[in-house]
Structure formats: C-alpha cells, structure tokens
C-alpha cells in the first residue's frame, strides 16, 4: 500500500476553514523555517487511503478473536452512539461543576456499579489503561505504607505467571520485584509464598483467575498470608471476565483492583487503545485516590480531592468517553446480565477445550475458566510445528490467532479466550479448523511452517526491523 505521503500533490487540499475574520497577527516569536512535510490531499484521497488501510486491519467485527487475557468480546453499537452524543463530546473538562452534572452522574453511576461488581468501596476513573491502573493501585499501596512510616516495605511479590506489566509497574513504584515460582498445578505455591513474605513485603500482585486460566482456590489463605505479613494485595483485573457476577475480589481479601473497561466492559480496543483502567479500593485506601472524587447528591454533584490524594495519574478525570461506553453496557446488562458474561465465557472456553484436548496438549486440562492454554512443547521437541506455526496458519483461515508464548511458565503456549459473545457454530468451525491444521501438521509440517500463505504479507523480518530501525517515512531523499 502507498503511504499517505505518496498520495496527493502540491496544492491539493480539503476546504475546511472559513476566511479569517480579524486582522492577521502571528505570534511575536521565532517561526519554523520550513513547513512540516504533511501530505497535501483532496478529501477523496484521504478517504481512499484510510479505507485501503482499514481493509488490512482485523477487528472483532471481522471474525473470531480468541486473544487470551485480552477479552476481545463484541463491542456493542449502542456504546458508540452514546459516546458520540454532543452532550458528552462537547463538554470542557474544566467547566464548573454545576454545568457538568450529567458527566458527574456518569462517573458516579459507573462507580456504584463497579464497586458492586468488585466488592470495593470507591473507584477512580483517572487511569487510562490497565497498566496505568496497576501503577495507580501500587501507588495506593505505597501511599499507605508511607503514611504509616513503614518504609522498610520495599518488596513486591509477583507470580512468574504474571503479565509483564506487573513487574514493570512494581519497578516504577520503586519496589524490588520478588518473582514467585508457580506450583506444578499452575497455582500460587503456598509454601513458597510463606517463605517469600516478611517485614519487607509491601504487597502481592495477583490475577484471579490467573493467566493459566485457573482460579486460585486458596485465595483466602493467600491474601491472609500477605495481610499477616503487613502487606496489601492488589488484584489485576485482566481476567475479571471469568468470574464477574459469580465472585468478587473484595470478598477474596484484595485491597485494591484495576478493571479494564476495554476488556470486561465491552469498550473497543481501537488498535491498541484508548482503554480505561479504573481502580477500585477498600475504604481505608480511598483517602489516597488520585484525581477527583465525585461527591454530593444527585443534581448537586461536585468534584473533590480525596483527603490525602496521591496526586494525578493523568490530566483531568480519565478517558471519560470510554466510561460512557462501559456504563451503557453496565446499564443494559444489569444484575442478571452481568453474571451471564462469566458463565458463558467460561462455558465457551470449556466447550472448546473439551473438543480440542484429544488433539492439542493442554497445559492444564480441567477446571479452567474463561481461557485455556495449549502447549506445543512436545511437538517442537519432536521437530514438529510450533505455537507460532499454528498461529500463522489460523490467519489463512480468517481467524485471529490466540495469544502466543504467554504465560511464560508454559512453553510454546497458545492461550485461547473465546469470550461469551461467540456462537456455538463459530466455536465448532474453529474446532474443525484447528483439527484440520493438526492433521496437516502431522502430514506435512513444512507446509504449516510456511504459513501464512493467504495473508497480505508473509512473516515479517523482525530482526532486521530492530537492528536497523526505520521508524518514519524517508521522503525519498534519505538513504538507510
């Protein structure tokens, strides 16, 4: 595909603005020497270029998208309509409280729903994504220890099955990471945990169901061990879709949580964002929450700083229009609809796994929740196809592959999360295709290793990309 810089011609333009209606006055400061080399395009060309690009993008609306830990569920259309209401889009974040009662109602109502769903007492919507929520949650924990003068708590315990953002977040909060090896059953090893805690434990970061798709059945004991050591427990909400409406982190002993509105609560991923990562916490941590709390009564809502507010995670009060989408979804589903999410997400995963486990080795083949993990380790050891090969072959069948090579504790992993918004016949078709790929892999592994064959491009050379980075268009006049 042509780049946007190869479209158009000098002098072409869209006619957007009226003539200036006051005297021209430029800033009295140094101006740029040359204009930025932006494309000069007619509107036809702008539209054609981006339509061409959209033709080489695969979204949830294009087909099955079982990316483990990403919860790629269907994004309801009504969410988009609500997020485009001028009554929301046209509001300046620094308007006076009495003129933004609708926005504050959205935040207040969404907070009430999310508190109930997680078993927490307060929520901030300031974090813009999951990792940003993790950062916020850990800063709440840091604020708690700091205020108590408990400065010896320098260590954050993170299971080795955790998403990479967990240890990275702990580092951003100044903590030393204690990597906790998982047991052979894929769960937290209680003895290892007991051995890891001490007076220097600031806390534990945990996902439940965990990244192996398993529920930490000893969760009450786990949170007790941390609390008795004087630490706090953080819930990574990446996998909330597996238990929503059935069990709540707040009842398991977690002190704070982040949620991904772009996973569990159906807001779109936009090719990598914007998401929203609100953080909920128990009452004793609420006084540190960043940004503003919405206080007061309906009709007289106002924004206030928490008593010992830890500051701001970003400007203003979060990815508001994403919260609008999520609230639309929450209101629609309500008390009966929310538990249906996890029940059907877990059912779809169990159904798929049950139909595939005779053919594909499972890392853990019972009691999985909303996702399951295939391991191609034996195949690779025999010189057969890898997780990557299976993934790339799925592309030729019009399906997005599962998450590859994660969790790290499972070798040659393919992590499959079908979500609740897929039909039985879609799952049956995927099962059929995956069995067909398995057969072909036995018969002609080289063919599988050469996939994809029907995608717009073959496997890209990532090594060269990283070694000789070309990260902007060269405009013809530069050489590599």
């Amino acid at each position: 595909m042509k780049t946007v810089f190869e479209w158009g011609a000098p002098g072409r333009r869209c006619t957007i603005l009226p003539a200036l209606d006051v005297e021209e006055q430029l800033p009295e400061a140094p101006l740029r020497d040359a204009a930025p080399r932006l494309p000069e395009m007619s509107e036809t060309e702008v539209s054609r270029h981006y339509t061409e690009l959209a033709g080489q993008v695969f979204g949830v609306n294009n087909g099955f998208y079982p990316l483990g830990s990403c919860t790629m569920k269907y994004n309801p259309s009504v969410n988009e309509e609500m997020a485009r209401l001028p009554g929301f889009t046209g509001v300046h974040p620094l308007q006076e409280d009495e003129t933004v009662q609708g926005c504050l109602s959205v935040l207040r109502t969404a907070e009430e729903y999310l508190c109930e769903v997680t078993g927490m007492d307060a929520v901030t919507f300031q974090p813009a994504a999951g990792a940003h929520g993790e950062f916020t949650g850990l800063l709440l924990i840091k604020s708690y220890h700091t205020e108590r003068g408990d400065l010896k708590r320098t260590k954050m315990i993170v299971p080795d099955s955790a998403h990479g953002t967990n240890p990275a977040t702990a580092t951003m909060c100044g903590y030393d990471v204690v990597n906790l090896a998982s047991g052979a059953d894929g769960l937290v090893d209680l003895e290892a945990l007991r051995a890891a805690v001490g007076e220097d434990t600031a806390g534990l970061m945990l996902t439940n169901p965990n990244t192996c798709g398993l529920f930490e059945k000893d969760i009450l004991e786990i949170t007790k061990i941390i609390h008795e050591a004087g630490g706090l427990v953080y819930y990574d909400g990446a996998n909330l879709n597996g238990i929503i409406g059935v069990a709540r982190p707040g009842d398991m002993g977690f002190d704070c949580v982040h949620m991904n509105l772009h996973k569990t609560f159906s807001t779109p991923h936009g090719g990598g964002g914007p998401g929203s990562g609100p953080v909920g916490c128990k009452e004793f941590l609420a006084k540190y929450l960043p940004g503003h709390r919405v206080t007061g009564d309906t009709g007289a809502l106002r924004r206030e700083r928490a008593e010992q507010c830890l500051g701001d995670m970003r400007a203003f009060d979060g990815n508001f229009l994403v919260v609008v989408r999520a609230l639309t979804y929450l209101l629609m589903l309500g008390k009966e609809g929310l538990p249906e999410i996890s029940k059907n997400a877990v059912l779809n995963a169990n159904y798929m796994m049950s139909q595939l486990k005779d053919v594909y080795p499972m890392a853990f083949d019972d009691n999985v929740y909303h996702e399951f993990v295939i391991t191609m380790e034996q195949s690779v050891k025999r010189g057969g196809v890898s997780a990557m090969d299976i993934a790339k072959t799925l592309l030729d069948h019009g399906m997005h592959p599962p998450t590859m090579y994660f969790p790290l504790i499972v070798h040659e992993a393919l992590m499959v999360e079908p979500t609740e918004t897929e039909s039985k016949e879609t799952l049956d078709e995927v099962i059929r295709v995956m069995k067909e790929i398995h057969e072909e892999a036995q018969r002609d592994p080289e063919s599988i290793k050469a996939s994809p064959k029907k995608a717009p491009i073959g496997r890209p050379d990532e090594v060269t990309a990283a070694r000789n980075p070309i990260i902007r268009y060269r405009f013809g006049e530069e050489t590599n």
């Binding site: 959205v106 969760i219 039909s423 980075p469």
Partner: protein, 437 residues
C-alpha cells in the same frame, strides 16, 4: 435485560454436556463457596432503547456552550467530517494491538505514518505510537532523562498544573526529586533556572506556549540547559507547531504534548493523546510501542512492532515503563486530521488561533480587562481586573458562552481558536463592559 451472549439456553445446555459439566455450578467448582455471591445488588438490566434514553438524559444535564473561550490544556477546535467518518470505521475501532503483523498492516502503517507526522511537527528524529495524554507524555519524557548521577528533574512553574501534578506522581513512584523553577512576569525566571541548574540536573521540562499562553524565550533557555549538560524536554501544543520554531530547531532532546487539538473532541477530558518525539540518540529510551518498516520473506514492504526489547513484556521489571495499551485510535485520528488539513491547513488553524486571540485580547482590554503579561503569546493570555472573575463568567454563561478559566477572582486565562467568531468576541467584550458598568 440486555445481553450480548449469543447462545440460547438450549445450546448452552448442549455445550455443558459436551464439555462434561453437569451444570454452570460445576464450571465454577474451584471457587470456594465462601467467596461466591448469589446475586449482585444492582438494578435490573434494560433494553437498548431504555438504556439509550437513560444515557441521553444524562448527556442533556450537561451544558454545551455555543462559544468556548476556555483552553488551559483542552482545546475546542473544528473536527473535519472526514476525520470522524474514517476513525469510526469498525476495523480500526475493534482491532487489538497489532501483534499479528500479517493481518494488521493497515493499523501498523497508520501508526508509522503518525510517527512520521509527529517527527515532522516537532523537528525530531523518532516518535512513539502514543502514550495516554500530554501530561503522562511529560512524565514519561522526564523519566527518560534520569541517569545515575543526574537525578533531579527541573520543571518550569509556568507549565500546566495538571502536567506538573502528573510529573510529581510519576516521580513519587521512584522517589526521584522534582524541583520547580519559579515564574517571573508570566514566563520562566531565567535567574531561577540558572541558580537551579547543577551537575545533578537530569532535565528541564518547559512548556511552549506555557500555561498562560506566553511564549518562553526558548533560545536562551535551551542554551542554559545545554551548558549545564542537562536534557531539554519541551511540552508543545501541536497546532502551534504549524507555525512556531520546532523543538528540534531549539535543540530539544525530547518534545511531547497533548494531541487532543488534532481532531479529538473535548469529551470531558478524554480519551486524549500523548505524543512523544526524541533525538535518535534517545530512541531506545522511548516508552511504549514503536512501529518500524521491514520486509517479509518475499521482500514485500512490511510494518511491525519494533524495538520491543525496551518494553515490559520482554524486559519485565527492567523495563523503563509499564505502558502496554496506548491511545492508538487517537493517534490515527491525529494522522487523519493532519492529512485532511495538510501543511497549509494546519498553518491556517495556527494563524487563526493566534490572530483571534490577539483580537480578543485587544477588545477585552478596551472593555477594561487588561492583559496581565506583556509577553508574546500564541492563543491564550491572562487578563487582570478588579471586577470579580466569577461575575464576568456568570454573565457570559447566561448567554451560552464559556468564558476563560478563572485563575482567581482577579485573573482569567482566555483562549481563542478558529471556532470563535469576531462577532462572538465582540459580544464577549460587550458583556464584560456591561458587567463592569
């Protein structure tokens, strides 16, 4: 109740049986009974129609002003229709991060093009695929500059307060010291900067135009920072870069800013777009996703996520940042906006902003609200008067006009963009006159 579950109860039963599970309870067998809940204490769900009515009711409780003269970090600009149509395409909207390059060339290329445009605007070599907003971009940028012997982050007092707060919050994580550099007459005090710069200075963060709309003497500031061996981080308004000397030309090491003016609605604060660009030397310190060009095995051009050895999923606790999801769709929006506007269109927006702000300053002065700072400015400025700010703003509000941001009861921070007409500005001046009479 509403639902997006596809399968009927009958189908669910078949699937349970096929999975060897006797009931839904059997699926959740490893959840201890003591943490199970039997119901959520929430209202019943609603149909789409009822839900939409409820949400529209909330939207109707907000005041949407017919003219907005408030900026202070969020700017009201015209969004071309083609921008909304293109970015509403469901493929862009519903895709995940482009991990599978073979079927994601469209989104990868759009970000590669966005990175190029950010390099062009800032005059720097490298840009990332976006971070959450302008304030987090600043916080990430100053973090890139912290080295073993240079740990102190200097921040101009003239920066947007929200940005300063976020820099402080990020610094609290690692206990990095932050030192504010005082303001004098609406701009950074050069004497204070000189006194603060030392061998332990990691960088200076300075915003251009600054929070008050004033243009800092960047040449002088850059020279002082360079001489001290510290890094220069410039926060910029991207629209102003259609006109103003670039951070690259000033010798900045990093430029960052809020991309919201490039086609994103005010939206009560988000989602917005944090853009970041830097010199080639600092490329491997950039946080977040970066898209690179390469080839596939047949020699076809291909785009991929690259330089991933910097990122959390590879480096885990050794990563410089934990960022994973970013603001990709907002970056796409900015790219479509810049494509639709072109170099001339962007320059025209900047010119109109500047011209109208200067006109507004003039008519407000005639109405009795004097400019506070006698400094060059872009599209924001502060007025000062004895008439209480709240009284002026209340009178404007009654006429459907959002006035500037009150800094206190004497000072107001005004902003003008291409959306403010001469007629509306004359009207504002008239209302101010009446209030003062």
């Amino acid at each position: 109740m509403g639902t997006f579950v596809v399968n009927t109860e009958q189908e669910q039963k078949q699937m349970l049986a096929a999975a060897g599970k006797s009931s839904f309870d059997a699926l959740f067998a490893t959840v201890p009974d003591s943490v199970k809940i039997d119901h959520l204490n929430l209202p019943e769900g609603m149909s789409e129609l009822e839900t939409a009515a409820r949400m529209e009711g909330m939207a109707a409780q907000n005041t949407v002003y017919r003219q907005i003269f408030r900026g202070a970090g969020a700017y009201h600009h015209y969004i071309p229709a083609v921008v909304k149509r293109v970015t509403g395409k469901e493929e862009f909207l519903t895709a995940y991060t482009p991990y599978q390059a073979e079927i994601s060339q469209g989104v990868l290329q759009s970000i590669f093009e966005y990175q190029t445009m950010i390099c062009e605007l800032t005059g720097l070599d490298c840009a990332n695929a976006s971070v959450y907003d302008g304030a987090t971009a600043a916080a990430e940028a100053v973090k890139m500059c912290v080295e073993k012997k240079r740990t102190k982050i200097l921040v101009a007092q003239t920066a947007q307060p929200e940005t300063v707060s976020v820099i402080r919050t990020y610094a609290f994580g690692k206990d990095d010291p932050v030192q504010m550099i005082a303001e004098k007459d609406g701009v950074l005090d050069p004497e204070a900067l000189k006194a603060a710069l030392a061998e332990d200075s990691a960088c200076l963060f300075v915003q251009q135009p600054n929070y008050y709309g004033n243009l800092e003497d960047m040449d002088a500031i850059a020279a002082m920072v360079k001489e001290a061996g510290a890094k220069l981080v410039m926060g910029c308004n991207p629209v102003s870069l259609g006109l103003l000397k670039t951070p690259g030309a000033y010798g900045a090491d990093i430029a960052c800013g809020e991309g919201q003016p490039l086609g994103l609605p005010l939206g009560f604060g988000g989602p917005y777009l944090g853009f970041m660009a830097c010199t080639e030397k600092m490329m491997r310190k950039l946080p977040g996703r970066i898209i690179g060009e390469t080839k596939d095995h047949d020699g076809n051009k291909a785009y991929v996520l690259t330089l991933q050895a910097r990122e959390q999923h590879i480096r885990r606790e050794k990563a410089g940042s934990n960022i994973c999801s970013n603001e990709a769709l907002c970056a796409l929006t900015a790219a479509v906006y810049l494509s639709a506007m072109g170099p001339e269109g962007l320059k025209e927006v900047a010119k109109q902003c500047s011209s109208k702000a200067h006109y507004l300053q003039k008519v407000l002065a005639e109405a009795g609200l004097q400019a506070r700072d006698a400094k060059p400015f872009f599209h924001e400025f502060v007025t000062v008067s004895e008439t209480p700010s709240s009284k002026i703003l209340e009178a404007l509000r009654e006429k459907g006009i959002l006035g500037g941001l009150p800094l206190n009861e004497k000072e107001i921070l005004w902003c003008a963009t291409e959306l403010n007409t001469r007629q509306a500005m004359d009207e504002v001046a008239e209302i101010v006159k009446e209030v003062r009479a």
